[in-house]
């Protein structure tokens, strides 16, 4: 292992993390809810009365975030190495997996670890380990 110093952005990433933490803090204190994105999105597929608007509003905020930054930061369209087939398989796995495991990087990784939940710690170790294994196979075994 070597450290990729050219791409390492500790300051910006820490700032981003603090903003994510602040958003999660606001959500649990003001709205009384967990900022778990797979749960908020997946819950739309299980409609209940009075449960729709906050989900749509949260997701809308998430999607317009790059537009809100347009006046200050030049837009960046990320280059994505994965081809269409890989993206489809990956998307299906993320969709099924986050719902079956009841959470993703935000719900288990940020909110769950912040609540000191052993359940979320197990989930986070599992998806991080699996993510590292998948990258190892794709980058170092198949490539």
């Amino acid at each position: 292992m070597t450290i990729d110093w050219t791409h390492f952005t500790p300051g910006l990433s820490l700032l981003g993390g603090v903003l994510i933490g602040a958003a999660s803090a606001l959500f649990v204190l003001a709205n009384g809810r967990i900022a778990g994105i797979s749960g908020i999105l997946g819950g739309l597929l299980r409609p209940r009365t009075g449960d729709l608007m906050w989900r749509v509003a949260f997701l809308a905020g998430l999607i317009v975030a790059p537009l809100a930054l347009l006046p200050f930061v030049p837009p960046v369209i990320a280059t994505i190495d994965a081809g269409t087939e890989v993206l489809i398989v990956a998307g299906l796995l993320v969709g099924v997996g986050t719902r079956y495991g009841a959470g993703c990087t935000s719900g288990h990784g940020v909110c769950g670890l912040s609540r000191l939940s052993p359940r979320s710690l197990v989930a986070t170790l599992a998806f991080m380990g699996a993510g590292m294994a998948a990258v190892f196979v794709m980058r170092h075994l198949l490539a």
Binding site: G16, I34, V76, I88, V96, V122
Partner: protein, 150 residues
């Protein structure tokens, strides 16, 4: 009125969360894969994203635990499950494999929709299809058990 404030607050939370994801580098799949690639040229940045978020989160959730209602005046919807079961582990493993393959997890994928990235659109459509597949399977498998409980 309370409902409108709830909706507005949820929008602001989503917006701040999304801006955090962009600053943190989470919306750049190459950076995410760089973090997961511990055997290669490792970029530890995303550990700082998680660390920063949890630093703030720990304080907020400690405070939230003592409250019986939200600031807006609604109920506290905090998770009640503490089960470490097969669903949790298998689901998280499947999610991790998909995360590593594409470099996208749900939040950053949605935020990337706002940049008009066509590859993010493909990923999000597949992810929603996966969630719908789960809903269908979950209902199908749990139907007999629910009926039996009656």
């Amino acid at each position: 009125m309370k409902k409108h404030i709830d909706t507005l607050s949820a929008f602001l939370v989503g917006l701040i969360f999304g801006i955090g994801l962009i600053f943190g580098g989470m919306t750049d799949p190459a950076k995410v894969v760089g973090f997961l690639d511990i055997a290669g040229n490792w970029d530890p940045s995303l550990a700082f994203v998680m660390g920063g978020a949890i630093l703030v989160g720990v304080v907020a959730f400690r405070f939230a635990r003592q409250r019986t209602s939200s600031f807006i005046g609604g109920a506290m919807h905090l998770p009640t499950s503490s089960d470490i079961d097969r669903r949790l582990v298998i689901g998280s493993l499947l999610f991790g494999v998909g995360w590593g393959m594409a470099g996208f997890c749900p939040g950053p994928a949605l935020t990337s929709l706002g940049t008009g990235n066509p590859k993010a659109v493909i990923f999000v459509l597949a992810m929603v299809a996966g969630m719908a597949l789960f809903e269908f399977a979950d209902r199908f498998w749990h139907q007999p058990r629910r009926a039996g409980a009656m």
